[in-house]
């Protein structure tokens, strides 16, 4: 524990600016993965444990597209659409068969796909780690903000994430599709009784959630090693975000992602040997105060 360093950091504008920006960056990617997870849970009531593997797929598709075409925009687009398409296939042919089944059966299907997708990645791209490299447009020196450092790519990443969060919020709050999604989250059976094609709805929600994981993978690829199994660690952190924010709440996922990012960022200064632990302590505190998470509601 190094509380002196933490206090020094909070008192210095450059440290404060760097750590807050670092926290936001850590949080943004987490949000993209966690909001797909929470969206699927909110509507379908299933926890998609394969979600981390979708993130991995997004990173690999981006890597290949970027190396083939040299276009990062195309890489992001290919990852988004590719993973969305895979999400629909996965939902229709596999998950749809276990919606009513025991949660252990759902877990088994998801776990099988985690192993299959990891092995597929090994067969197609090899077992070694791969690096995509930074797209030329972002090979720039970091910006200086209040004496702190802010890399341009992270600014782009944050802007894309905020744009997605706002778009998602508007779609959920203002559109017919959003109303149906909210209705399904509240009462799935009733939505079906009202004549809504629930199979189509579930596939659409799964596609949307998967697309978000795909985008996250594509945004992570320039700055993270792309390797089979890379989805596992982000899945754990995304679960923490989902639990803190409240299962099924996109707004909760957004706030929780930022809070987790900030906690980790300042935790590395004040508690260098317990940085991961700070995240779990924070989760425990939130659950003690509000067992349903920050934005979660009690079922029924």
């Amino acid at each position: 524990m190094n509380l002196d360093a933490l206090l020094d950091c909070v008192a210095a504008s450059s440290c404060l600016a760097t750590q807050i920006s670092a926290g936001l960056i850590i949080g943004m990617l987490l949000f993209l993965v966690a909001c797909g997870l929470t969206l699927i849970f909110g509507v379908l009531g299933v926890i998609n444990f394969t979600h981390g593997s979708f993130y991995m797929m997004g990173a690999y598709i981006a890597l290949t597209t970027f190396q083939t075409t040299g276009s990062y925009a195309l890489a992001v687009l290919a990852s988004t659409l590719g993973v969305a398409l895979f999400g629909v296939i996965f939902e229709r042919f596999f998950m749809a068969r276990v919606y009513g089944a025991d949660v252990l059966m759902q877990l088994l299907v998801c776990y099988a796909f985690i192993l299959i997708l990891d092995d597929m990645a090994k067969i197609v791209w090899g077992a070694d780690f791969r690096a995509m490299g930074m797209p030329e447009a972002f090979v720039l020196p970091p910006l200086r903000v209040a004496g702190g450092f802010l890399p341009p790519f992270y600014l782009f990443l944050a802007a894309v994430t905020v744009a997605i969060a706002i778009t998602l919020g508007v779609v959920i709050a203002k559109t017919r599709f959003g109303k149906i999604v909210r209705a399904a989250a509240a009462n799935r059976q009733m939505v079906g009784v009202l004549g809504i094609n629930t199979a189509l709805l579930y596939a659409a929600v799964f596609a949307l959630g998967s697309a978000l994981a795909g985008i996250a993978g594509a945004l992570a690829a320039p700055v993270r090693s792309v390797v089979p199994g890379m989805g596992f660690s982000i899945l754990i952190e995304s679960f923490i975000v989902t639990v803190i924010g409240g299962m099924g709440s996109i707004a909760g996922a957004f706030v929780a992602s930022i809070l987790v990012g900030i906690t980790r960022s300042f935790g590395s200064i004040g508690f260098p040997l317990f940085t991961d632990g700070t995240m779990f302590v924070f989760m425990a505190l939130v659950l003690l105060i509000k067992p349903t998470g920050l934005f979660g509601r009690r079922p029924g």
């Binding site: 670092a22 070694d128 930074m134 790519f153 090693s225 590395s268």
Partner: protein, 392 residues
């Protein structure tokens, strides 16, 4: 019609290693190099017509699984020799199995010094054909101290993986750095988890501490991610970086914007030692596997070469006979500091392999200005260290 040599029973050598997960490159590069050496031996007629058969099994790097795999190799696959290409934690498990079974074993990956230095852990039938942490650290400390002295680098920081290897290696480096340049101070430390995906919090902490020099023993994909993310913050223009594991081709080639001037030890370079034999071996490996060799490749090539040389010398594949021949054996090797590597009899570990530090450049040969270690110096430091640890 079956040739006479082919009808003879093969000499089965079992290789437990890591072929899946984040560090599968350990197993792949180890298997490749060992198989290349086996192919050479077999092509030359084997041991009086008896061919070597390499039986490779994946332990996933888990100690309990490695122990199980070794027992399976011995009991089910009838392997008489074990070439242990496991990382340190699993190597200790393998050591205990072979101590019990008495099979000849050569560790080819574990760099943890105590495996062979500590007489309580060492066993008469196990050898090490891999670099050793204490050898690397003592020279690294001397090399870094000279630069620290010349450039006035007083404030140091450590950013290494948070597990035994990271902590031990960083600690030994710092110990020797302080011995050779007592004025340095540790201004900060940050310990990312092994296989961490994001180093932002570690990098921003380094930026806050503002060290003059940074030591890291991150490796593989973790080091690539750290460098890529550090580039975003212009980290390498703000501190002198000493990355012991940088100079390995998988790492050097995956970093898209390799910063100039990072100090690194040689893990494996076809240009160090700068000999024809080393360059030729590297090229032969590249042609065979369409990839350049890395650190674990040369270590396994050496391990297998010691075995085959011992077989040729004794005309036997009996473990006890081979072990006797291995003690003190000297082989001609492309990876030797002076063209030779010795299996030191007293602790059954190799000495005389090439160790050097240089600085990175963004294009091939990636690392230049290599300074070769003096083995007289290393052996002296090692003897002092053994005394301090109570191993001597």
């Amino acid at each position: 019609m079956v040739a006479r040599g082919q009808s003879k029973a093969p000499i089965k050598i079992g290789m437990p290693t890591i072929l899946s997960g984040r560090v599968a490159q350990i197993g792949i590069s180890s298997r490749n190099a060992a198989q290349m050496a086996v192919d050479d031996f077999n092509a030359a007629g084997g041991l009086d017509g008896r061919m070597i058969e390499l039986v490779v099994r994946d332990s996933k790097g888990k100690p309990d699984e490695a122990a199980r795999v070794v027992r399976e190799l011995i009991n089910s696959d009838a392997c008489t020799i074990i070439l242990d290409a496991e990382a340190s934690s699993a190597s200790f498990a393998v050591q205990e199995v072979v101590r019990e079974t008495g099979h000849l074993c050569i560790h080819t990956v574990s760099e943890t010094s105590s495996l062979s230095a500590d007489s309580k852990i060492r066993t008469a039938n196990a050898f090490r054909a891999a670099r050793q942490g204490i050898h690397d650290s003592s020279f690294a400390g001397k090399y870094a101290a000279e630069i620290a002295k010349a450039q006035g680098l007083k404030r140091w920081m450590i950013c290494s993986p948070d597990y035994a290897y990271g902590r031990d290696t960083s600690g030994e480096f710092l110990e020797y750095l302080k011995i050779f340049e007592p004025s340095v101070e540790l201004a900060g430390e940050t310990w990312p988890k092994l296989f961490a995906a994001d180093y932002t919090e570690n990098i921003t902490k380094i930026l806050q501490v503002k060290p003059q020099a940074l030591y890291t023993c991150l490796y593989g994909g973790d080091l690539v991610t750290f460098i890529d993310q550090g580039n975003l913050y212009d980290l390498f223009a703000q501190a002198n970086v000493f990355a012991v594991n940088m100079a390995d081709y998988t790492t050097l080639r995956e970093i898209k914007k390799l910063p100039k001037g990072i100090h690194s030890a040689n893990r494996y370079l076809t240009t160090f030692p700068a000999t024809k034999a080393n360059a030729e071996w590297g090229e032969r490996y590249r042609k065979k596997y369409d990839v350049l060799p890395i650190n674990w490749s040369w270590e396994n090539a050496v391990g297998m070469q010691f075995l085959t040389e011992a077989m040729k010398k004794t005309g036997s594949d009996d473990g006890k006979v081979l072990a006797q021949a291995l003690r003190g054996m000297v082989i001609e090797s492309p990876f030797g500091a002076d063209g030779k590597i010795t299996m030191r009899a007293e602790d059954q570990t190799i000495v005389g392999y090439a160790i050097g530090w240089g600085t990175t450049i963004p294009t091939q040969p990636y690392v230049t200005d290599m300074q070769a270690a003096d083995w007289g110096f290393i052996v002296e430091r090692e003897a002092e260290w053994k005394k301090r640890k109570g191993y001597a």
